[in-house]
């Protein structure tokens, strides 16, 4: 605390910028060097290896303290809705009630230390938690996820038009793969013998071929580009080469 205060008083803008760059560099160097510095033994290790785990835990613990930032932002927005009785404020109230209920009962349930398997008659806080988690949270999650079935159907209907060569190619590949996965598709080409040179044209085989030999290399091509892009971005951040809004430190 004192150290931070001293730094704040002593350092000018340039000194601060320099310190931030240094901290960034050291943090990156630690993780990078541990990987690239020659290592010996089985499992292999070097002088930094034993620090990786504690340092990672430390960073993740520090990261967990940022949880308040998100909750603060939520409470800020919804708190104002409630305080000013804005339209739909009862929804914001529902937000607060469900947040507090979940927080209280999830922690309470944790400290009940119930045995596994749980007793036939549950203590009531555990019961409330069950309703909150398995009755609301999990189904809301599952139902939202399953909306995708509808969206994928309507997106397919709209997007797969032979407007251009690109759209037609996309549609063709999607057709083959979709049909290759379901009994209907297999049934369509079941007249083709399952072995021999023509077996390739059975829809399930064709679909597999499209996935393995057309999809995989294209994805891999994308992946290499991304790898190099991410590598360059990492280098720029690590060495504080980045300029532009957030990085032009005018501290």
């Amino acid at each position: 605390m004192l150290l931070l205060y001293a730094l704040h008083r002593l350092l000018g803008p340039r000194g601060r910028r320099w310190l931030i760059a240094l901290v960034t560099f050291v943090a990156g160097l630690f993780y990078g060097l541990e990987y690239f510095y020659p290592a010996k033994g089985n499992p292999s290790a070097n002088f930094l290896t034993k620090w990786i785990e504690p340092v990672s835990i430390m960073f993740s613990v520090i990261g967990f303290f940022t949880v308040g930032l998100g909750v603060y932002s939520l409470c800020h927005v919804h708190g104002r809705n409630v305080a000013r009785r804005r339209p739909g404020w009862h929804n914001s109230l529902a937000f607060f009630l469900s947040m507090i209920a979940m927080l209280v009962f999830a922690v309470w349930e944790h400290y009940l230390h119930l045995p596994e398997p749980p007793p036939a008659v549950l203590p009531w806080p555990k019961g409330v938690y069950e309703v909150l988690f398995n009755g609301l949270f999990a189904p809301l999650q599952a139902a939202t996820f399953s909306l995708l079935a509808f969206y994928i159907a309507s997106a397919a209907y709209r997007a797969f038009r032979i407007r251009s060569a690109e759209a037609a190619l996309m549609m063709g590949a999607a057709f083959i793969v979709m049909l290759g996965q379901v009994p209907v598709g297999m049934w369509l080409t079941s007249a083709i013998p399952a072995s021999g040179p023509t077996a390739f044209f059975r829809l399930e085989k064709l679909g597999e071929w499209v996935m393995n030999w057309l999809n995989t290399p294209a994805q891999r091509g994308i992946t290499f580009g991304i790898a190099v892009g991410a590598m360059a971005m990492s280098l720029r951040v690590w060495l504080s080469l980045e300029r532009g809004t957030f990085f032009s430190e005018q501290a």
Partner: protein, 222 residues
Amino acid sequence: MNPEIYVLWAAVIATLAVYSILYRENPVSRLFEHVFVGLSAGYMLAITWTQNLEGRWWNPMVHQRLWYWIFAPVVGALFYLIYSRRLVWLARLVMGLFFGTAAGTFFREFFPLYSPQLYRSFKPLVASRSVGWGEVILHNWIFVVILFTVMSYFFFSIPHEGRAGRVLARTSLLGRWFLMIAFGAMFGNTVMARLSLFIGRVQYLLYDWIGRYVPWVLHRGM
């Protein structure tokens, strides 16, 4: 207390409220949207404590008397200085720590992530004792051609002019077409997985909910 029946009805109402959004956004779906966000926030706070901070920070600090853990919240608190005009640079200091970590972590991941992809792309282009020409062309040649043309699409600093540039323009156009084939295949491959999710929900509504009161439904499709 046996919560089973409450869980069932709560789950059914929540599910139907979410599906009502398919018709359009409405007061009920809006209410459940806020409940969902609230439950997630509460759950996030709860597991941050019960599954992370308690075991990794509080217990070591209090029970094992590792006093230095007291500094973790101090460093974490620096993030909150983002709201202060004067002290914002301290927030940047701790963010710099995290940026550095993100970069360093990527350096570590580079070979574990990408070197298998590199050497698995070494596909022989000639037939061998175990693999015939048909398969080599149908698999390996196509694989290599797609990989190279797709990568050529992602060259940004070479103008598509001049003799070499025109070649690149051709291969990158071809690459874009292969990309579209791949995207179509990925789309088609995902349809089944997404339908499964909905089928799972319908099964819940039919068998667990309606089937509880109408046994006929329970016996169908079983």
